[in-house]
Symmetry: C2
Subunit: 336 residues, 2 copies
């Protein structure tokens, strides 16, 4: 059972999740020593995950059997669960409450060696469709306040399993990064009568030097003040606050933009570890004029050091304009 704790000094929460200690890691030993292990996300090993929540099986077939193209399962080592139980401790200094939520894994492809840079447009579109439908379903659960979807790709990005998978972590509060984005978006809207991210797209287009791609209804640019070199943001051109209210056309447009972004990062950086993180509005918020959903892609090009932890200020060596020029220069084969 997990517990959420608030730091007594800062507005910083930590989820203490002892169940996670049991999870195995493919990456524990060095890459060289590692003997190939059977992958729990590969077809034929469906029994190694909890029973599937959903799978796309174009030719039919029983649940938890091969033949799927995308498969959604509960995390075997969930960071939290909906049956939390224990009440909050009543200490105003050391604040704690139960960690309530869901933790799903979305296996993106049956192909152990594929990733978003190589799986192709059709497969990536299926991934985003299942992700969107799952977010919509979770958003109807009244105990949940926020659904965070992300991918950890590669050991340096926090992945413990190599096979491409996204994670969907649903929680009963709106986390501080999203709350801060919403507050700043509201303040901007109050001052300028306009969405902050719509303004961002317009101003980035005007400046030009950080734009990586502008097509298929999605805008991709190198982040102006990145945390990591080559950090890339993707946002829909049309204002929308909730990813999960999108359409199949949106899935395909986003699949084009996301696979393009990953392929460009791989073109410049080899095969970097990366996280992509979906930033969307909280559950059951009506369409918000002051929030705009988007994806942040963080290539893990550096390790955070003492200065970043102590100050909250990041240091990068490559200017985003140079990063954008290199990313834009990668020859990416246009998806069919």
């Amino acid at each position: 059972m997990s517990e959420l704790r608030k730091d007594p000094v800062l507005e910083r929460w930590t989820l203490i999740s002892p169940e996670r200690a049991a999870r195995p890691s493919e990456y524990e030993e060095s890459e060289l020593e590692r003997a190939p292990k059977p992958c729990p996300f590969c077809p034929g090993r469906e029994h190694e995950t909890p029973h599937e929540i959903f799978a796309l099986r174009p030719k039919g077939g029983a649940p938890d059997s091969p033949g799927w193209r995308v498969r959604l399962v509960p995390n075997r080592f969930p960071a939290l669960s909906l049956d939390a139980g224990a009440p909050a401790r009543d200490d105003p200094f050391f604040v704690a409450r139960p960690g309530v939520g869901e933790h799903d894994v979305l296996i993106e492809t049956p192909d152990h060696d594929a990733d978003l840079g190589s799986m192709g447009l059709e497969q990536a579109t299926l991934v985003l469709r299942v992700l969107r439908e799952r977010l919509a379903a979770l958003g109807r659960e009244p105990r949940l306040a926020y659904v965070m979807a992300f991918e950890n790709h590669g050991a340096a990005a926090g992945a413990t399993i190599e096979h491409a998978h996204a994670q969907i972590l649903s929680i009963d509060f709106v986390p501080r990064v999203i709350r801060a984005e919403m507050e700043n978006g509201m303040a901007f809207h109050a001052r300028h009568g306009r969405c902050l991210w719509c303004e961002w797209i317009e101003r980035e287009r005007h400046v030009g030097s950080r734009v990586v791609r502008d097509a298929d209804g999605f805008f991709t640019a190198a982040a102006y003040a990145p945390r990591f070199e080559y950090e890339t943001w993707i946002a829909p051109l049309a204002h929308a606050s909730s990813f999960e209210r999108g359409t199949p056309e949106q899935d395909e447009g986003l699949a084009r933009a996301l696979t393009d972004a990953i392929a460009r990062l791989q073109g410049v950086l080899g095969h970097p570890a990366y996280n992509f993180i979906l930033h969307t509005a909280p559950c059951r918020t009506d369409t918000l004029p002051s929030y705009h959903w988007h994806l942040e892609v963080l290539p893990r090009t550096a390790r955070l050091a003492g200065f970043e932890w102590g100050s909250g200020v990041h240091i990068v060596a490559t200017p985003p304009e140079e990063a954008a020029a290199r990313l834009a220069g990668v020859a990416v084969s246009a998806a069919p």
Copy 2:
């Protein structure tokens, strides 16, 4: 020349520092392939650093020559400098200004293989004395607003050189983590008439289960809501807001507490990468009743993943009470 940029969405600053791109890394290749390279911080190689700012040479000797016990030099690849020059761009959306500051390196010992867990009390006391004197000197420079001192130890903690060294990065603004600590400290003081960290020590003593050490004028406990497993905080028992206003007795007490903390982490975790970060009041602030300087020790036991980046919420598996019990159980030889 470096530039500070403010993220257009969040209150998050990034220092774009192209000079840093040139810096070599001992850790670029895997540990196994790496050929031993001459270390620029070892005695006899003083010419490989910029001219020293200060060194402790008990038997005398010329600057930039061997015979030192602790050596302070400018960073050869500074993240910023005092001769910043270029004016801020006048764009209210994409805010930028020159990065103004100093970047020093404090070589902690002539012994390439020593670290804070093994260098001994006398050497660690010298390190903290030079650190304190340097912070006091930098605090008198009117262009500087904050001096951040930290150590990156091991590649996973962001170090590029193995030889034990701390860094002192001085900047012309108070970074957001410190500002948030000061604001919350002031709010707590206004409500309760008392320092938040003095209260923290008293409450941790009362709870008991997270205390690791309480001796020599310093208090060590496992952080209540840690970002990393085994995260440890060290604070002076006597209220004080500025580390650099301390005394030689303070240097020795802190050296005992810090070397003890590192030795305990090494006892439990082997030789983890870690950061220690000094949190102290801004330059030229009078003694503040609502701020209390302290050290945070972050063993880099995990890699931050997508959920942490997207939410600002950390996930750890080991409860701090269990971490404290293991740390307290390590047999550390009492320093002389």
